[in-house]
C-alpha cells in the first residue's frame, strides 16, 4: 500500500484562480453553493468522474486549482444542462465546466491522448481553417492523435458510412475564410480584454 500525503496547506490554494472563477461566466454564483449534491445526482456522467460536480464547485471556490484542472470530470461533461436546470441555488454549473475546460486547454493541462480535449482542439482548428466541419476528416484526425488502433477497429463502420454517403470525404469549406478567422480572433481578443 502506497501512502500519500493528503493534507492541504493554505499555500496550496491559488487566490488568483478564486478571483478568476468568481468573475468568469458560470462562476458568478458559485459562492452560493450549499453542497447538496443535486448536480452530481442529476449528472448522467458522474458515475465515471473522479470528482463529482459538487466537489468541483467547492474545490474551485476554495482555489484548489491543481485538483480542478487535473480532474477528469471537466472532460466528461456532455453539456446536457441537467445540473444547471435543477440547481437549487441557480448556479450555472454547465457554463462553469466550459470555462474550466477552456482554462485547462489554455494552460495545456489536459490529458495528451484523451479524446475529448483533442476533439475540441481539432474541431476548433478545423472551423478556423475551413469555416465548416468535415466529419470524416475530423474523426480520422482525432483517432490519429489518440489511438490509432481504434481507428482500425472502427474502419468497418466507417466504410459502410462512406459507401452509403453518410460520411463524405470531400472537405467542406466556406468562401471568405479569412473573415471567419477575423471573427474568431476578435472573440479571443475580447476575452483577453475582459480577462475572462
Amino acid at each position: 500500500m502506497e501512502l500519500k500525503r493528503t493534507i492541504k496547506f493554505e499555500a496550496d490554494r491559488d487566490p488568483e484562480f478564486v478571483r478568476w472563477i468568481s468573475h468568469t461566466v458560470g462562476g458568478e454564483r458559485i459562492r452560493h453553493c450549499l453542497q447538496c449534491g443535486l448536480c452530481s445526482g442529476k449528472c448522467p456522467l458522474s458515475l465515471y468522474m473522479d470528482y463529482t460536480p459538487r466537489r468541483l464547485m467547492h474545490l474551485s471556490r476554495e482555489g484548489f486549482k491543481e485538483e480542478v484542472l487535473g480532474s477528469s470530470s471537466i472532460w466528461l461533461c456532455t453539456a446536457c444542462y441537467a445540473c444547471m436546470v435543477h440547481c437549487p441555488k441557480s448556479i450555472n454549473v454547465t457554463h462553469l465546466l466550459y470555462a474550466l475546460k477552456q482554462r485547462a486547454i489554455e494552460e495545456k493541462r489536459y490529458p495528451r491522448r484523451f479524446a475529448i480535449p483533442v476533439m475540441a482542439r481539432q474541431f476548433s482548428d478545423m472551423v478556423r481553417g475551413s469555416g465548416r466541419i468535415t466529419e470524416s476528416w475530423l474523426i480520422v484526425k482525432v483517432f490519429l492523435r489518440t489511438s490509432i488502433w481504434r481507428l482500425f477497429g472502427m474502419s468497418g463502420l466507417g466504410l459502410k458510412l462512406l459507401r452509403t454517403g453518410r460520411m463524405p470525404l470531400k472537405r467542406e469549406r466556406v468562401q471568405r475564410r479569412a473573415e471567419i478567422e477575423k471573427l474568431l480572433d476578435s472573440v479571443a481578443a475580447t476575452r483577453k480584454e475582459l480577462a475572462i
Partner: protein
C-alpha cells in the same frame, strides 16, 4: 403661505438642536461637530449641541435643562429613525412642559450614515436635512392626542393549535373571545399528526383536552365552518362580519351520535376523506375525525344525493328522528361582532410535491407525503395505525427525502424549519411500526431546539441511515437485479463523494411549509402586510414578533413563517398577552395626525368620500359639506392630496409645514 417672521410675533421661535453620535454609528460617517456648528448658524436656532447618546437619560436631561434655561419652544433631534426614539424625545419635551409635537426628528442614521461612505458628502446631506427640519419645526403647532375606549373582546381567526392556545389564554383571563375556524372542526394540522417531536407524546392526547376546553369555555364563542368576510374600524374598536357556511345540520340540535352517518344511503364512503388526505373514503354526511370539536356532523352538498337529485330516501333524517337536526334548506348566515383586538392564526399549507416531478409523487403509488404518512401511522387513520403500502404489504425499506420544495430557487427559497425534526420522528415511528431499513436523505440536519439534537442522536443509535445529499430522482427503472420492483432513489452521498442508487419500497417526501393560498386575501381583509414570500409580516422581527403594522392586529403561529408546535404555542401566548395588554388598558391614545375639513372652502364635491379607505368621511346634507370623523381617521392623507379645492388639512402635515421642509432641503448652502 405665512412668512415665518409673522410667527415670531409675541412668542419668538427658539429652536434647540441636538445631534447624536450614536456611538460610531453616526459619528463614524457624519462630522457631528461640524453639523452642530452648522445648525448653530441657522436662523432661530438658540442652542446647538452634539452628544454621544441622545436617547440616554443624561441626553434627555440635556434637552429638558435647555428648554428651561434657554426658553426653547421647538426641538430638533438628529439621530436615528423616529420609529425608534420619537416617543422618547416627545416624552422629554412633555416633562419639560413643552407640547410633545413641537419636536422634529432628522434621521441621519438610516438615511445618512448607514447608507453612505463618503464622510464629507454625508455631512453635507445631513446639513440639508437638518436645515429642512429647523425650517419646518418653526411651523409646528401644539397637538393633543386623543383617547378612545377599547372594546374588551377579541377575535381569534384560525382554530389550529396557535388559535386554540391564544383563545384559551384570553378566555382564562376573563375576556370574551370569538374563535372563527373555516373547517368544520378545530384542531388544524396538529390534529392530523400521530406523535410530536422530540418527546413523542401523542398529538391527540395533548391537543384534544385543549379542543374540548375551547368547545365548552363560557368565554369562548366558537364558530366553525365560518369565515370572517369583512373588517372595519380601528384599534380597540373593530367591527367584523362573520359568515357561517351551512352545515345542513342544526348546531344546537345535533348531539353527535353519528347515527345519521351509519344510516346514509351510501353503504360505503365514496368521497376522498379530506382529513385522511384522500387515503380513505367518507360519506356525504360525516364527522371529520372522532375527536372533532364541535361534535356536529356536516353534510357535503357536492356529493349528497338529496342535493344532486332531490330524490334521496333521506335515511339520515329518519335516523335523526325527532331530534330534527338535519335541515337541507339551511342558508348561510352572518354575525356582526365588535372587538377590540384581533389575533390571526391562520396557519400554513404544505408544499404540493407535484411541482417537483422528479420525486415521483402521483406517478408511483408508493410515494407519499409526510402528512399522509402521519395519517398512516395514526391509530385513527385510514389503516388503523398500520404502515402499509397501497397493496397492503409492509415496507421492508423506506426512504425519507428532506427539503421537498424548500431551500430551492426553483420552488421556495426558505428552510421550512420543521421538516428535519418531523422526518426524524417519522423515521423512528416507521422503524418502530415496521422494522424497515430507513434512509434519510438530507442536505443539512437542522435540529436546534430543546431536546432536538438529543433526538437526532437517538435516531443515529437506532440505526437509521443518513445520506447527506439532495435526491436527484425517484424512479422504478432498475439497472441492477436488486432494484427490480423497487423505487430507486438516486442521490450523491456527499460525505462519501460518489453517487448512490438506493432501492426502497416506500418513499416519504418531507414537504415544506408554504403560506396559505389565500394569505394575500386575508392580509388585505385585516389590512396587514405580507413579506415577499407571502408570510404575514411582523412589526419587528426581534422586538415585536407578534405585532403587525396595524395596531390591535396580532399574528401567531405558522401564518408568520414556518414554525413547530412549541414555537406556535409560545407565539400564541405572546399574541394573547399583547392583546390583553391592549384591551386591559381600557382606552388607547391615538396619534393626532387626523385630517379636517376647512368648511368655508369645501365645495361639497364629495370626491374625498370615496377616496377614504377607512370610511371616515361623511357628507352633511344640510350644510352641503364633507365631515371627517376624527375617531375613524387614521391620518393617511389620501383625502388631503385628493381634494380638488385644497380644503382639507391634516395635523402635523399641513401644506405650509411640508412646503417649508421642501424649501429647506432645496436651499443648498
Amino acid at each position: 403661505m405665512p412668512e415665518i417672521s409673522q410667527l415670531s410675533g409675541p412668542e419668538a421661535v427658539r429652536v434647540g438642536f441636538y445631534v447624536c453620535h450614536c456611538g460610531t454609528n453616526i459619528a463614524g460617517t457624519v462630522d457631528v461637530k461640524a453639523l452642530a456648528g452648522y445648525a448653530a448658524s441657522l436662523p432661530r436656532v438658540a442652542v446647538s449641541r452634539e452628544y454621544k447618546y441622545m436617547c440616554s437619560d443624561p441626553g434627555q436631561a440635556l434637552i429638558e435643562q435647555d428648554i428651561a434655561d434657554h426658553k426653547l419652544n421647538r426641538v430638533v433631534v438628529a439621530s436615528c429613525s423616529p420609529l425608534l426614539h420619537e416617543a422618547t424625545f416627545r416624552r422629554a419635551l412633555g416633562r419639560a412642559g413643552l407640547n410633545p409635537f413641537l419636536l422634529q426628528m432628522v434621521n441621519i442614521r438610516e438615511h445618512v450614515s448607514w447608507v453612505h461612505l463618503d464622510k464629507k458628502a454625508a455631512t453635507e446631506k445631513a446639513q440639508d436635512l437638518v436645515r429642512a427640519a429647523v425650517q419646518r419645526v418653526a411651523l409646528h403647532k401644539p397637538l393633543q392626542k386623543r383617547r378612545v375606549d377599547i372594546n374588551p373582546s377579541v377575535l381569534v381567526v384560525g382554530g389550529g393549535i396557535a388559535g386554540i392556545h391564544a383563545a384559551l389564554t384570553l378566555a382564562e383571563a376573563g375576556k370574551q373571545v370569538y374563535l372563527v375556524e373555516r373547517e368544520p372542526t378545530i384542531g388544524g394540522h396538529m390534529a392530523m399528526f400521530d406523535k410530536t417531536f422530540p418527546t413523542l407524546d401523542c398529538a391527540a392526547c395533548i391537543l384534544t383536552p385543549k379542543m374540548t376546553a375551547v368547545g365548552s369555555h363560557p368565554n369562548i364563542k366558537l364558530w366553525t365552518y365560518s369565515e370572517v368576510v369583512k373588517v372595519d374600524g380601528y384599534v380597540g374598536n373593530y367591527k367584523a362580519q362573520v359568515k357561517h357556511k351551512p352545515r345542513y345540520v342544526i348546531d344546537d340540535l345535533c348531539i353527535g351520535c353519528q347515527e345519521c352517518i351509519a344510516a346514509c344511503v351510501y353503504k360505503e364512503g365514496k368521497t376522498p376523506d379530506e382529513f385522511n388526505l384522500g387515503l380513505s373514503m367518507r360519506k356525504p354526511i360525516y364527522l371529520p375525525f372522532p375527536q372533532a370539536v364541535p361534535q356536529k356532523v356536516v353534510i357535503d352538498r357536492d356529493t349528497c344525493i338529496e342535493f344532486k337529485s332531490g330524490k334521496c330516501k333521506k335515511t339520515c333524517v329518519e335516523a335523526c328522528g325527532d331530534r330534527l337536526a338535519i335541515d337541507f334548506k339551511q342558508k348561510e348566515t352572518f354575525d356582526e361582532i365588535e372587538i377590540g383586538a384581533i389575533i390571526l392564526a391562520t396557519g400554513f399549507k404544505t408544499f404540493a410535491p407535484e411541482r417537483n416531478p422528479y420525486c415521483g409523487y402521483g406517478r408511483y403509488p408508493n410515494v407519499y407525503t409526510s402528512l399522509e404518512v402521519e395519517r398512516l401511522i395514526n391509530a385513527s387513520g385510514p389503516t388503523a395505525g398500520e404502515v402499509i403500502l397501497r397493496d397492503g404489504k409492509k415496507p421492508a425499506s423506506v426512504g425519507i427525502i428532506h427539503c421537498i420544495g424548500s431551500r430551492d430557487a426553483n420552488t421556495n427559497r426558505w428552510c421550512s424549519k420543521v421538516c428535519c425534526m418531523y422526518s426524524l420522528k417519522l423515521a423512528h415511528l416507521i422503524k418502530e411500526h415496521t422494522g424497515a431499513e430507513v434512509f434519510n436523505f438530507y442536505i443539512d440536519m437542522r435540529t436546534p431546539g430543546k431536546g432536538y439534537e438529543e433526538f437526532y442522536d437517538r435516531l443515529l443509535d437506532e440505526g437509521v441511515h443518513f445520506v447527506r445529499g439532495r435526491v436527484a430522482e425517484v424512479s422504478d427503472w432498475a439497472v441492477h437485479p436488486s432494484e427490480e420492483g423497487k423505487l430507486v432513489i438516486r442521490a450523491e452521498d456527499t460525505l462519501a463523494g460518489f453517487v448512490r442508487r438506493i432501492p426502497v419500497d416506500m418513499v416519504v417526501l418531507s414537504v415544506g411549509l408554504e403560506p396559505q393560498s389565500d394569505a394575500q386575501d386575508v392580509r388585505r381583509l385585516f389590512n396587514i402586510s405580507c413579506a415577499s414570500e407571502g408570510w404575514f409580516l411582523e412589526r419587528h422581527p426581534k422586538l415585536a414578533p407578534v405585532s403587525t403594522f396595524t395596531e390591535g392586529v396580532y399574528i401567531a403561529g405558522a401564518c408568520q413563517g414556518p414554525k413547530d408546535i412549541p414555537d406556535s404555542v409560545a407565539q400564541a401566548g405572546a399574541a394573547a398577552a399583547e392583546a390583553l395588554a391592549l384591551i386591559d388598558a381600557k382606552s388607547v391614545e391615538l396619534e393626532p395626525y387626523t385630517a379636517s375639513i376647512l368648511e368655508e372652502e369645501c365645495s361639497g364635491c364629495k370626491s374625498c368620500i370615496s377616496l377614504c379607505p377607512y370610511q371616515a368621511i361623511a357628507f352633511i346634507e344640510e350644510k352641503k359639506k364633507a365631515y371627517i370623523n376624527e375617531v375613524l381617521c387614521k391620518g393617511c392623507g389620501t383625502c388631503v392630496a385628493g381634494c380638488p379645492s385644497g380644503s382639507i388639512k391634516q395635523n402635523f402635515f399641513e401644506d405650509e409645514e411640508i412646503f417649508e421642509e421642501i424649501e429647506g432641503v432645496l436651499a443648498y448652502a
